[in-house]
Each structure stands twice: as structure tokens, then as C-alpha cells.
Symmetry: C2
Subunit: 534 residues, 2 copies
């Protein structure tokens, strides 16, 4: 390092001793999302020479992670998956891939190009989702930034501003300006004098002025922060006149998209695996000793003395397997149809989990027309049932792109689309897209849609429980019933995110560790193998 | 497209006719940064059989773009560059590269790895910088999203909150909450009744409540939007108590970093060329017929009858060249030292352009420790002279990373660093870094700094003019003096950005087109070639 040694350098900085450790303890005004995270649960290793067996039902993210951690501890895991593939709702479709919707099988018509993909389920990872980020690191999943917020993208509502799409940056700046003007006005007319000292009121006036970019007399007259109506590279910038306060209050955007980038899970920057979210699934599969058995539909789950017995159908045959433990990633609302000997209250808990609705459309666009409007990723918000339009932020300036033409989790909006044929959905989405981007439809080459509530083996997305059911049943579902552990984002406080699925796995493995402590060494009747009964 | 033809589809959407064109005209509440941009200036092509000659002084971005457009129109361009390389302030250093600081030549000690690079000059591109984006597209420069804003990164000021680093997301959420509380209070106590209707006041109350995440009684008590002190994946989220209004007003962050992401040029998402900003320079060089002559120092510029004569030193020899036109990208404040026959007022204009100060430090870090804190790109803001710390958002989870440890354009802060040796700068930067990230120094493997005001052939960055000088001289400098055209970001309203440089080129070529129109066919004394006089 130039002309000094590393040791000298650290001495000069004053960081050589314990000073930095000292400072560290005085930190943490802000949260430290990852410092408390020491990695996945270390499962108590199997006793020397023993190989306890585990059945994992469902090859979603929670199932895959559970299998990985158990394999590392020396357990033998068998994963049974009902559908034709691993990953659960972590589903990325490309040319030729199937969307297995009930009665509406769709085949993806995108061009044969690895970068033309559609993340049907999870599509982004915030920096504080430490568990999924751990697995991306550990499994060698390459990540890239996913632009989630784009200030140049639009808000559009037929009922606001005559239906005209409004650039988010203008609305954002105007809301800040108008609010600051109100605060300035109140502060300036001594209305906060009882709340704070004269000196603080003076500071507040200055704050409001800078925050809102107000004039010297506290007026908001627009701001260059939202761009310029002139070519600001060659002329003095000139700002657009602002929205009026009344029009702002009448508009719908402050009730919707305005706060999008302010939600904790959506805070910039977000990430995505390069080439598609299914890179996470592929990462798990690369590291698992036993690949999942697909097209294996579970029919019975029985807690037995010292183990669990699971029966399933596979390629027209009926099998029964026994294992020391079972981790169950099957959507809980399917459990009513699976024979079991769970306690009534546990089964009632499973029944109480309702399915969420979530719907997406993806269009292959022959040109990335949005880039010509300055939009390189992020989201436009629509008041139509499509709710959101997402622009790809990877493969910038490529000839074509996959645009998310609808993304809603509103049950009513989703139901509108669920009732349509796939072709009708594409038409409805395009009609709404036209309002945000006139000419939108002309760029569409093909499209595909996914109504999660109509997907085979899923029939919904996420977990919905009434507050009463949640209070009554949830603590129960977080603990094992016999040797059966429920997992999946459904058994987390954060369903609909892979991070919730991984947390459920962590929680279940912690419970397992308790059980293993009690069992001393896990060798029940099923020790050493799995019995198949045709 | 499923079971309908493309034509049917467009008919169903109602987009087949002129309807979308119609809608388009009713748009534009928001600006359309790119729609007005039709690409670079088409230079009036050289007359058949003629090959007008052009001398371009300085191989910065403006010079390279000017040469490219002129070559396309059939002109013969010679680029003279004083330094050892093309690109000007578009400088990316990697292992072994030189920072040509006066008296302090530094050689970059980063590991030999293409992805360990430091963009010493421009480092990001917003979506509305349509000219540089045009060239990235046209020259095949691959772009990726550059996370510019990171809500999980910090604000740090010794004088605020006892010097503790504060997560930006908390401060952002608290400012929004506290402001909303003030507005709620004023609205609720009828203080806006003269400004608006009762109905609108009621809307304002609702707005403030949602915007700030206030309680039903209009109190701001913290928000889950800023995260949770519990593990929100497995427990109910709990928000941090908010900063108090007085403490917020006393803090410095609202005067600095808080508005960072609100500036038009910094609005998310920004981009960077994959692998370093110099990909832009390489792109130009790939497409230029005549590569720049480097180490060629211009000594004289004379407007002659029907042409321009330029003398320069190259490899110890003195050369004189003549050409039909000259485009001059040399920092204007150097022109005082270059013999010329410009009018007194033009020379006074050149003299009036002052140099800006800009300083950066880059450290090679042996671990990407920031990622463990949930930071995957973006900027922390410091009140120390370092001003900003930038985290790389490319090569996520790589073993090492280049961290920008200082980035300031404040003349005083820059001067502090300019007066130091390179080693002292690294120490000073690390001391400030320690306050944001205790333990910062322990990760440093090596580092390098760039004080642009001390760089050979630059001696500054950007353009600074007094308002009087600007009014007196700038319009003059935007027009040619004889056949000599000044270019560079210095001749734009937006210096310090490549977009400004390209705008200056566009402007000069438009002026050239006017001249060419007047000259009818550009064949002066210099037609057909360049004369070299040793």
C-alpha cells in the first residue's frame, strides 16, 4: 500500500487495536439486518454410523433448503414433489416451458433466447433478506441489481388527471413540494410555537424550504428535481408547473404507487439472479445428493410410533415410505384431501390457512420501447386491474424484452383475469397498457399469463388467515405434530417471499434440534433406509 | 399468439387504427426525455469527391463523438490528444494503470482482475441522458443497472446523533412521518380551512395519515416501512421508535444526503457500462477510422483564411497541421497558454472558465463487508470531507470489491485531500470510513486517489463561471470563432457529465451545418488532406 505497510496504515488510522470493536457496540441506531444472522441452523449431526431418514413433501424453496441442511448433517432425504418440476412458485418460464394451469395449459411462445424469461413467482430480493442471500452466495447463484423503482415510469388512473399517465418523478416532487409548503405556511404563521422553540421553528422553516424546493416566500412553484421542459444540457432548466394541492388530494396515486419504494421489502436496491429466479432452484439441485422425485402425489401421512409413514402415487403406482421425520411443504389447504392421523386441532389449523390470489401477465415485446422514454427498469402503477407494469432492467438495449404487463395480488382484480381465457387476459392487459404507453399493443409479439389460484398443485399463493385463526392455530403449526413439521412460506410471518419459506425451514430445523436433543440419537424403527411398498 | 392472429389481437385491443397515435398527443403531462431526441446531428455530407479535413483537439468524449459524426459525413478527422490515452476524464483504472497526477504519479495496485476497477471520472448514467445512451446503444457498450441509492446505507455526521451512523431508511421514514404529523396537526386543528374546502381538509388528513404512517390520532410512532427490531419473518414486526422532531431538525442529513436520490440526475435507476465506464471510450475507438494521436501537445491555434492551422509537439518534434475546421476540446483554462489569434473577447471568454475541484478515493477491500450489513450498492453520506462512500453493485458476492471511499466536489474538502500525499489521503479516508463502518480499515488491501485539480492535462473538472462571465461570454463560446469550435462539457449547461460533453458536440455540429450551408461546399485551401510540417 504505497509507501507504508498495512500495519503502519492501521496504526495511523487508529484502527489497529480494539477501537473499532469498541465503536461497533456504540452503533446500531439503525438496524443491522445481517449482523444477527449467523447462517442456517446447524442441524445436530446424525450419530456416527447412523443415517436417519427424512421425507420432504414438496420441492419448493423451503423443502429444498430443509433437505440441503439435513443432508449436511448426515440425514438421508427423499423429496416427493407432486408437480412435474422442482421449485414450487419459484418458476421461471422460457421458450417452450409449460404453465400448468387447470384446464388452460399454456406453452411459452417467447423466442428461443435464455434472456427472454418470465419470473412467474418471486422476482426480486431485497438486501435485508439475509437467508435467501446466504443461499445465493453459498449455492453460487449470480445476482444482479433489479431496478424496482423508476422515477421516470408512470402513474395512470382513468379517474386522475383525465387518465393521463403522470411521470412518477413529477408527482413525487410535487407531493414533497406541496407538503413542505403547508408546513412552511404553518410554521411561518406561528402555528407550531407551542410545540417547539422559536429557534426550532426557524429551523423548520429552512427545512421545509430545502425539502420542498420552495421559493423564498415559501411557495412551491415546481422544481428542477423533476426535470426540465427545456433541453437542460444546452439551456437553463425550466421546471414544469406543479400539480395543484386539490388535484393531488383528488388523485389516487398517493394511496398506491407513491409509497411503493418506501415499503421495507421494496427498498432500493433490489436484486435478481442473472438469467432468472430459477437459478436459485438450480443451485439447490446442484448441491442436493438426492434429486426430488417429481410427479409424486402424496395421499396419506401418518405419524407412527417412532416415525412417519407417507403414501404417494407415482407413475400409476402406489408407494408407502417410512422415515424418522417428515417436513411438509404442501400447501396447507390441500391437507384436507390427504389422509392423516393428525390431531383435530392441528388439522383445523391446516384448514384455516386460506389461499391468496396473485396474477401476472408477461408479454414478449419486439422492441424495448420503454427505453426510448427513459425507462430502464422499475414499475409503472395503474389503477386498472393490471395494477403494475414491470420493465426489465437486465439486457439493456437488447432488441427485444419481456415486459410484465400485469401483476396484482388483489383478489378482485385477480378474479377478473382468472375468469378469462389466456387470450382474453392478454387483450385486457394490452388495453390497460395502452393507457400507460399509447402504442403498447403494437409491440406485443406474444404473451403468457399465470393465475396462481388456478395452478395445479398450488391453487393459490401465500397464506391468508383470519386474525382469530392466526391467534388460535398459528403457534401450533409452527411446532411439530409428532414427527411431522409443517414448512413453507405459509408457516412464516412473511408469506409470498422466499425469505419466509427459508425462515419456516430454519424454524422447523430448530424444532428438530430440540426433538433430537430429547431423542438422544435418532434411530427409530426406520433407521438406515426407506422402505418402498408398491 | 395463442388462438388469435396478431391482427385480430390489435383489433380487440382497439389499437389497430390511429387510436394510439391519437392518444399519444394527449399525453405529456410528464416529460418525455427521449421522444424529442432523434439521434445525433446529421452533419451535411461532404461533396462528392471532396474530403474536408478536421482537426479535433482533445480525445475526451466530446472530441470522440464529434470525430465519429464527422467521419460518418465523409470528413477526414485527426484527433490530437495531449495525454497518453484517449477518454479525458472518462478514466477507468485497473491493475497496473497510471493516475497521472502532477508530481504524484500513482500506479493502481488492485489485484489483476477485470472486475476490480475504479471509474475515476463519470461513473453513472441516468435514463434521461439520451445522448450518452444513444452512443452506448450504437457503439455496443453493454450497460447494467448501477444502484445509486441504498436505503440500508448510512448517514454519518460527528455532530448529529452523537456521531452514530443512521440507516437512511429510518431517517427517510422518520422525516416523512414527522412532516406528516405536522400537516395532520395543522389540518386537524382547522388551520388550513381558509386554504381549502372542508372536504379537502378531510382528504388532507387521510393523506397525511397514510403518507407518514400515522396512528389514528395523527401521531407518528415509527413505521415498519423502516424495518423491524424483531425477526419479521418469524415474529410480528416491531418498529424502532422514531427520531424526535427536534433531533431531526438539529441533524445535518436533511441538508445533504436526504435529497440525494431526489436530484434529477441521480434518480433511480442509474446505469453503468459493465466492466467500467471506459467501455464508452473503447466503443468510440472501435468505430473511429483514425485513432487519436496521443502525447500530442497543442502549442498554437490560428484561424487562417479558409481554414485553421494548429501546431503541436509530439515525441520531441514540432508539427503544424492545417485543416478546414477545428473542434477544440481542450480545457478552456489551458487556452491562455496556447498561442492563438482569437479575438480578445473570445479569449477573455475562454479565460473566464474556471476549473472545478473533484476528488475520489478507491480502496480494494479484501471482503465485501457491506453486503453483510445488507448494503448491495448505493451511497453512504458522511459529513467528513470524504462526503460519500459508494458500494459496488456489480459482481455481488464476489470475494473482493472496490469501494469508493471518498467522492467530493466541494472545493474546500477537495483541497484538504489535494494537499496530502497519496498515502495520507488513504489514511484520512479510512478514518472517516471507520465512523460509518467500524472495522473499515481492517478490510483495506490497497487504494488509490484522484484529485482532478492536480491531474496533468486536466487541472480540474467541470466548468465554473461567475454569473456575469456566463452572461457576457457563454453565448460567444457556444458559437464558432472563425472555423474554430469550442466543445466539451465546459461548453454545455451541464458540465461534469458526459451528456454535457455530447450536447456540446451536438451544438457545435449544428453550428458547423450552418457554416457548411453558407460555404456551399467545404473546399478551402486545405481540401483533400493534412499537411505535416516537422
Amino acid at each position: 500500500m504505497l509507501n507504508i505497510t498495512r500495519r503502519q496504515f492501521l496504526t495511523y488510522v487508529g484502527a489497529a487495536g480494539g477501537s473499532s470493536a469498541l465503536l461497533k457496540t456504540s452503533l446500531a441506531m439503525g438496524l443491522m439486518p445481517d449482523e444477527a444472522y449467523a447462517g442456517p441452523v446447524q442441524v445436530k449431526p446424525a450419530a456416527h454410523g447412523s443415517k436417519p431418514t427424512v421425507l420432504i413433501l414438496g420441492a419448493g424453496i423451503a423443502g429444498l433448503a430443509t433437505a440441503l441442511e439435513l443432508e449436511r448433517a448426515g440425514f438421508h432425504c427423499t423429496i416427493l414433489e407432486a408437480s412435474h418440476r422442482a421449485g414450487g412458485r419459484n418458476l421461471t418460464v422460457r421458450h417452450g416451458d409449460k404453465i400448468d394451469e387447470m384446464g388452460n395449459t399454456q406453452i411459452c411462445n417467447f423466442d428461443k433466447d435464455e434472456n427472454l424469461f418470465f419470473n412467474c413467482g418471486p422476482a426480486r430480493i431485497p438486501g435485508h433478506h439475509r437467508r435467501i442471500l446466504h443461499y445465493c452466495r453459498a449455492l453460487g447463484v449470480p445476482l444482479q441489481i433489479k431496478a424496482n423503482s423508476c422515477k421516470l415510469a408512470y402513474f395512470q388512473d382513468d379517474k386522475s388527471f383525465g387518465g393521463k399517465p403522470v411521470r412518477q418523478i413529477e408527482y413525487h416532487a410535487d407531493v414533497r413540494g406541496l407538503m413542505s409548503e403547508l408546513v412552511w405556511k404553518s410554521a411561518h404563521s406561528n402555528q407550531y410555537d407551542q410545540l417547539m422553540s422559536e429557534e426550532d421553528v426557524a429551523k423548520l422553516v429552512k427545512f421545509a424550504q430545502l425539502h420542498g424546493d420552495l421559493s423564498d416566500t415559501g411557495k412551491y412553484v415546481g422544481t428542477e428535481r423533476a426535470g426540465s421542459t427545456t433541453d437542460r444540457m444546452l439551456q437553463f432548466p425550466k421546471s414544469n408547473p406543479p400539480i395543484e394541492l386539490k388535484a393531488m388530494l383528488d388523485s389516487s396515486f398517493w394511496q398506491g404507487g407513491l409509497l411503493g419504494a418506501e415499503l421495507y421489502d421494496w427498498c432500493e436496491p433490489l436484486m435478481e439472479p442473472s438469467g432468472g429466479m430459477d437459478a436459485v432452484v438450480k443451485g439447490f439441485l446442484r448441491h442436493l445428493k438426492n434429486p426430488p422425485i417429481v410427479n409424486a402425489q402424496v395421499k396419506k401421512i401418518y405419524n407412527r410410533e417412532g416415525g412417519v409413514e407417507v403414501s404417494y402415487e407415482h407413475q400409476g403406482k402406489f408407494h408407502t415410505m417410512q422415515a424418522d421425520y417428515c417436513f411438509n411443504n404442501i400447501p396447507a389447504y390441500f391437507m384436507a384431501g390427504i389422509e392423516n392421523n393428525f390431531s383435530a386441532v392441528y388439522q383445523a389449523g391446516l384448514d384455516s390457512i386460506k389461499r391468496g390470489h396473485l396474477f401476472k401477465i408477461a408479454y414478449q415485446m419486439k422492441e424495448r420501447f420503454w427505453e426510448k422514454e427513459g425507462i430502464y427498469g422499475g414499475i409503472s402503477y395503474s389503477a386498472d386491474p393490471i395494477n403494475q407494469i414491470w420493465y426489465p432492467s437486465h439486457d439493456i438495449h437488447a432488441p427485444k424484452g419481456i415486459l410484465l404487463g400485469a401483476y396484482t395480488w388483489d383478489p378482485k382484480a385477480s378474479a377478473t383475469f382468472e375468469a378469462m381465457t389466456p387470450a382474453e387476459r392478454l387483450i385486457a392487459g394490452a388495453k390497460s397498457g395502452e393507457k400507460v404507453h399509447p402504442g403498447f399493443s403494437q409491440y406485443i409479439e406474444n404473451g403468457i399469463s399465470i393465475p396462481w389460484a388456478r395452478m395445479n398443485h398450488q391453487m393459490g399463493c401465500g397464506m391468508r388467515m383470519s386474525p382469530e385463526d392466526f391467534a388460535n392455530y398459528y403457534p401450533l403449526l409452527q411446532k411439530p405434530e409428532g414427527r411431522h413439521f409443517m414448512i413453507g412460506d405459509q408457516i412464516s410471518h412473511h408469506s409470498g417471499w422466499q425469505e419466509g419459506a427459508l425462515a419456516s425451514s430454519e424454524q422447523a430445523l430448530q424444532q428438530l434440534n430440540k426433538v433430537l436433543g430429547a431423542h438422544a440419537s435418532p434411530k427409530g424403527v426406520n433407521h438406515g433406509g426407506v422402505s418402498h411398498v408398491a
